[in-house]
């Protein structure tokens, strides 16, 4: 079992790492991060802050774009191109295929996120002359969010078209950053039903703010390892649930 999943993941890694769009996005992101070095020179005020803010925002946005747009085609492309026939006619349970695909893209994005984080780290170091490990911790948080988005994109693409999968995944991304507000809004309602519904939604929707370690880390007040561990645990549970649903939907799928 493990061997097959790793093989599928390795093959997906190989496929996505050779994706030209990925390189275009990565090159552009590195360019934007690099240019903050000169931007900071022009602006007044807290120069370091600008470098770090723009840099982390770039890592975040470019990461989300790659996770969503490669994530939605991860499975649908295999089904459309019928490459899936050659894998699933062999002794490979369908769930292993889904999990392997998601793991492979996660590995690719680990590499691109690391490249962007390293670039930002060096730009900051060049400017400030003292290393800022917070950049790496905040980037790790972004990466965990990307893994969750990959799982969501895989889930949607098992039952709908790539365009709709992209729309759904991006909606989840946007909602995921404000889902805490649901509880707040719900709490204000007098109706118990509304309060209850808000709670259910809050637990069903991803809470991506769990992985937002930008402010605390970069501007002091380092989060305790316990909080980081909780976030990792949350990621694991959420991804397991989403992938289980994806695997169930995929397990009875009829290929064209």
């Amino acid at each position: 079992m493990g061997g097959r999943i790793v093989s599928i993941a390795a093959n997906t890694f190989r496929e996505t790492i050779r994706n030209k769009i990925l390189y275009a996005i990565l090159a552009f992101a590195l360019f934007v991060i690099g240019i903050t070095y000169f931007l900071a020179d022009l602006s007044v005020g807290e120069l370091t802050r600008i470098i770090v803010d723009v840099g982390l925002a770039s890592i975040h946005i470019f990461g989300v774009v790659t996770a969503v747009f490669i994530g939605i085609s991860l499975i649908s492309q295999e089904v459309d191109r019928k490459t899936v026939y050659l894998i699933l006619s062999k002794p490979v349970p369908r769930w292993e295929f889904i999990v392997g695909k998601a793991m492979g893209l996660s590995a690719t994005l680990a590499l691109t996120t690391l490249a962007m984080a390293a670039m930002l780290f060096l730009v900051h170091l060049g400017y400030e002359r003292s290393p800022e490990p917070g950049i790496l911790i905040a980037s790790a948080g972004i990466y965990l969010e990307l893994v969750l988005l990959i799982c969501l994109a895989s889930f949607f693409s098992t039952f709908t078209t790539p365009v709709l999968s992209a729309i759904f995944t991006l909606s989840m991304f946007l909602i995921g950053h404000v889902s805490k507000d649901l509880i707040v809004f719900g709490g204000r309602s007098a109706s118990a039903a509304v309060q209850w519904a808000a709670k259910v939604l809050f637990y069903a929707l991803p809470n991506l703010e769990n992985f937002n370690w930008k402010n605390e880390v970069v501007y002091g007040g380092v989060r305790s390892p316990g909080v980081l561990g909780m976030a990792a645990g949350y990621l694991l549970c959420y991804c397991a649930a989403v992938l289980t649903a994806a695997c169930l939907l995929f397990s009875r799928k009829d290929f064209k």
Binding site: G3, R4, S7, I8, N11, R14, E15, R18, R81, K82, T83, V84, Y85, L86, I87, L88, S89, K90, P91, V92, P93, R252, D254, F255
Partner: protein, 322 residues
Amino acid sequence: MSGNGPVIEVSGVSKSYPMGFWRKRVKVLSDLSFVVGQNEIVGFLGPNGAGKTTTIKILNRLAFPDTGTVTIFGEEAGKRPGSRRRIGFMPEQPYFYEYLTGAEFMSLCGHMNGLGRGEIKRRSEEMLTRVGLDGAAGLAIRKYSKGMLQRLGLAQALLHDPELVILDEPMSGLDPMGRMEVRNLIRELKDAGKTVFFSSHIISDVEALCDRVVMIHKGTKVAEGSVDELMGKEGVQYVEVVFSPLPPPGWASAAGLTRESGSVQGDTFVLKARDHEDANHWIGELRRVGSLVTSCIPVKKRLEEIYVEQVAGNAREDGLGG
């Protein structure tokens, strides 16, 4: 291993797909049943769109029947993923990961089949050589020609030495040389004790090779049996006897032969006898007038004619049924 039961048993399988704007369900397979016995080569014959690929997808659990059951080696086909280890499958016009080389792809397939590293290396070299791709093992699949893709499809199906080999249109897209190689390969599989089930819309490929044939048209089985069975007991349609020199002019009509059954062709007289007995009678008659036999050929009904008969007959029934 699984006794003497059939290797594949398809029984009462129906399948429909939603089609068109209204997503109306159209039947692609209706109540299809057939068996494939151990160590048989069975040809799955039918015109384009008959439902061959759909059936083969169901055998490989890439599609699910609406009703009916499919068992392979006595188990529900593919339900237990491990059971697929005994099957080798080549899809119709197989699609590959184009960014891999032939050898990389074979290695991926080996891992999917749970083979060990050493075995993968040994078997994939062996199979690539077997299909004539040893020179292209290091080449990206993107650069393969259509025939090479077909060969790679065969190599991956045989990689893990499966007991049952299912091939969807294995000869399509191949030149005459390639077709012959595939035919030889299928014969060798039988000699090695394997069971082969393959689809084709080309009759000569099936006729030359198969122990038995399953013929389908519009999702319905129209014939099943050995090639000889399908051609009738003796299979002989008429006996063609050629005589030389020519009998005297006017002899044929005087003897009661029609233009159909006896005709002059060049400097020979060609006679179509109903059967061997009839042929012997005419040989005696013609000897008396000095014409001697130069050749005698029993002409068999060809599978092609049966195929056309069945398919046309089926179409007529459709017409009658409205």
